[in-house]
């Protein structure tokens, strides 16, 4: 970290701890003073790579590796255009392919590979997907949403806790003051000896303590509505997706037997089993609805 310095005036962080390094779109650093000096007219060329630069595009270098600064810059720009979400794709595989494509573009732009072509591709994409880009602008990704929710929850519970502690303290203070006052009153008015009164007071104080303890345990967080929906949660009002169901269709039962095929009705009557069959049917009817 100490050997970081301006490539033009050779000042380092070690010699000048308040040195402010700036970086522009090309990813080369300059210190603040040099920027002021070289870009008096508002624009100029980079000292190292001769890229035409504007002064207004200079920003403070956040990372030690200036290329990372440059990459993040480019990435943010690219992300503005390539802002499709996971649900815009039919499958996870497609989404992953898309992510990789984005990554490729960023990589090319950062490392100055095939810049013209890549830029062309970006523009083409922008033209083709104008409405999707517009639509997704305000939307966060699913994961971002989750994070926001978690943060919100945390904030809520912190606030809740703070309030609870405050209330608890107030309540305790009041209760104690009350019991003290009561003791003084009794001492003033009652005819009982003071020692007994004091003892009584002690018992009451102990009871109070235990009561407070119990209350502490009983306090429940009230971050839920009675319906179970969290307070502050955004409820989606979209209609529930209709589930397409196929009607039930009867299929004749196919019993697979390994023995000989069962005889049909005609055959049975030929063998003289008809009456027996009738009997069975009768039995069956009786069995199912007893008379």
């Amino acid at each position: 970290m100490d050997d970081q310095g301006c490539p033009r005036c050779k000042t380092t962080k070690y010699r000048n701890p308040s040195l402010k390094l700036m970086v522009n779109v090309c990813g080369h650093t300059l210190c603040e003073n040099c920027v002021e000096m070289l870009f008096v007219r508002g624009s100029g060329n980079c000292v190292q790579c001769d890229t035409p630069l504007r002064k207004s595009n200079f920003r403070v270098q956040l990372f030690e590796d200036a290329t990372v600064d440059k990459e993040v810059e480019i990435r943010k720009k690219v992300m503005k255009i390539y802002n499709k979400r996971e649900f815009d794709f039919p499958s996870l595989r497609d989404y992953n392919d898309y992510l990789e494509q984005v990554e490729d573009i960023v990589y090319n732009l950062t490392n100055n590979i095939d810049v013209e072509n890549t830029k062309g591709r970006m523009e083409q994409y922008q033209r083709e997907n104008k409405d999707i880009i517009q639509r997704n602008k305000a939307k966060l990704t699913r994961e971002q949403e989750e994070l926001e929710e978690l943060l919100l929850l945390q904030q809520q519970s912190n606030e809740q806790r703070r309030l609870e502690v405050l209330q608890e303290e107030q309540r305790q203070l009041q209760a104690k003051r009350k019991s003290k006052q009561a003791l003084l009153d009794e001492l003033e008015q009652s005819k009982l000896p003071a020692t007994i009164l004091l003892a009584q007071h002690k018992v009451r104080a102990a009871q109070l303590e235990t009561q407070i303890e119990q209350q502490k345990q009983n306090v429940k967080p009230t971050s839920l509505f009675s319906t179970g929906i969290q307070i502050g949660q955004t409820v989606s009002l979209q209609p529930l997706p209709r589930i397409q169901e196929v009607l039930y269709q009867y299929k004749p039962l196919q019993v697979e037997t390994y023995g000989p095929p069962a005889p049909d009705l005609e055959q049975l009557s030929r063998f003289g089993y008809e009456s027996l069959l009738f009997f069975f049917i009768l039995l069956h009817i009786q069995g199912s609805n007893p008379i």
Partner: protein, 760 residues
Amino acid sequence: MKLNIEGLLVYFPYDYIYPEQYSYMLELKRTLDAKGHGVLEMPSGTGKTISLLSLIVAYQRAFPLDVTKLIYCSRTVPEIEKVVEELRKLMEFYAKETGEVNNFLALSLSSRKNLCIHPEVSSLRFGKEVDGKCHSLTASYIRAQRHSNPNQPVCRFYEEFDAVGRQVPLPAGIYNLDDLKDFGRRKGWCPYYLARYAILHANIVVYSYHYLLDPKIADLVSKELAKKSVVVFDEAHNIDNVCIDSMSVNITRRTLDRCQNNVDTLQNTIHKIKETDAAKLREEYRRLVEGLKEANVARETDIYLANPVLPDEVLQEAVPGSIRTAEHFVGFLRRFLEYLKARLRVQHVVQESAPQFLKDIFDKVCIDRKPLRFCAERLQSLLRTLEIADIADFSAVTLISNFATLVSTYSQGFTIIIEPFEDRTPTIANPVLHFSCMDPSIAIKPVFQRFQSVIITSGTLSPLDIYPRILDFRPVTMASFTMTLARTCLCPLIVGRGNDQVALSSKFETREDFAVIRNYGNLLLEMSAVVPDGIVAFFTSYVYMENIVASWYEQGILENIQKNKLIFIETQDAAETSMALEKYQEACENGRGAILLSVARGKVSEGIDFVHHFGRAVIMFGVPYVYTQSRILKARLEYLRDQFQIRENDFLTFDAMRHAAQCVGRAIRGKTDYGLMIFADKRYARSDKRGKLPRWIQEHINDGSLNLTVDEAVQLSKHFLRQMAQPFRQEDQLGLSLLTLEQLQSEEMLQKISQMAHQT
């Protein structure tokens, strides 16, 4: 002797048994019957290990389908060896009694450093080096290269094991680490991989905590252990800290610099490979696109850097597209690294939660949560593809990627604290990022879920109910046993005042008070005149000890003490301490007598026993509270309060008292042993502190031993020591605290025992 424990025939390899051992086994059997978890406390020196082993082995023999395996976890290698020796004794007894050779297989497992027999590799000094070197000889791609290039060095022991070792199972028997090595040498097999393979079908496995609790190691070693196992955590009073340590990550500036080098190496290697062997990268890419599960592709030696615990659904999914190709992934790492560097450049302390961190990282360098979650997995795959042999070099980048995976996986129970400097040296910039786990139940949860019985046991687990709360499980038995004694061989004294009635305390306000320090000195001086042989004194911290000893020197107290006994001091340096310990024992041995000044929570207080004359008295100067200003501790206390409704003070006192109990417990290592336990702080006399001591110590604290002055304590100890010095034979113990089989079976004794277990 043969015991009948609720219908279970238990072989016990000794002629005599302590009553508490019997009742311990009863409780243990009930736990196993219920197929639940248990918390059992029994004083050290009453034969916990052998009771555990003999009951569980008997249970395994009686119900081989219900309990298939015993996993015994201990803390250190010497402890592991001790367990194996006890087991050997038990098995010999079985062979003698039943007359048949049983087919039990028991073995211990340790790191490569303790098990390697390769002449070059085993000569390395550090565990990391051994692991790295071993990996460079046994990785699957190295061995594949050997097919084309016979000059490529490989480990012949592993080759031999791989060729034939798996077909022939390890013959039944008891193996400690040396036995394994011997066996390996005889057969020419690698003992480490042999042991790792053999634990799958062994009946008893003895190894260290980390093999189950550290998710990185557990994933490799203990993944395939059967559900119907009994897991025992011995000496488990510190188990919550082990859990927390295994999930926490600390990142310093140096880690990041090393990581930078790693990333550069990765990039160069990728460039090189692209020119020579682009097909390899394409192959990896194809695999990642397909979303094939890595574990199926990797062989056992490759999984050197396992990923931290991930939810299963993540593992099933394919790696996200943004880090699929090697270059993109390196770029991703670079951005992450630069982000961390920028975060470490802070002037003040920052504390934030995981979601906050994730949001910030998205805003600053556009890194999503999902690729972060796959970071560890992706790095492993890359390292394997690049065929980088010496993986020890890449520990920094592995650490970073583990951190990335953890921070994006868990949104609860973790906190991130960035400190620009240490509290002690506020002028020197030494930024550290602590990613600290606050919930020990995260690491231990898989263990409780997976195994049918988990037993947590130690000499000091009081108060018992706090462990189930902080580890978040529901035990079926919780019991605390005391030591039955024929004579009261321990004498706890609470010294609250000096001879001049100055209250003794190590609390912050009186820490610098000369009167307190002088009185502490007096206490030690007078004790050194009364107590024979060895005295061990514990202080609350190294700094406190240094201060006190310095002012004792100025006041001339040290000189006076040295007339009675030699003084040795524990330091932070391990070698120096073990030297001091050796000399201390020598001085006790030859009758000169010695005092060892050491620190609670230090090495001496945890692992070293002072049997008989090595420790006739233990003096605990002050209450060993943990350093409460530490931000990590504060965050953890807050978390405990919110999630488990444990108040800060309760936890701090609990933590201090378990360490105090550990310290004073060092003196008594058996029933023939005796020792003084002196608590030199008036705060010990309060019931909230006293009530948190183990029951076997609490029982002997009566009103007469509270809030003593130094003089009174000396009088009491003189009396106690004179009593204890009388000859004591085994016959005196028999029938009271030591039982033969007949005595055990007598009606009266059984009744007594059944009342003994202190249920909570």
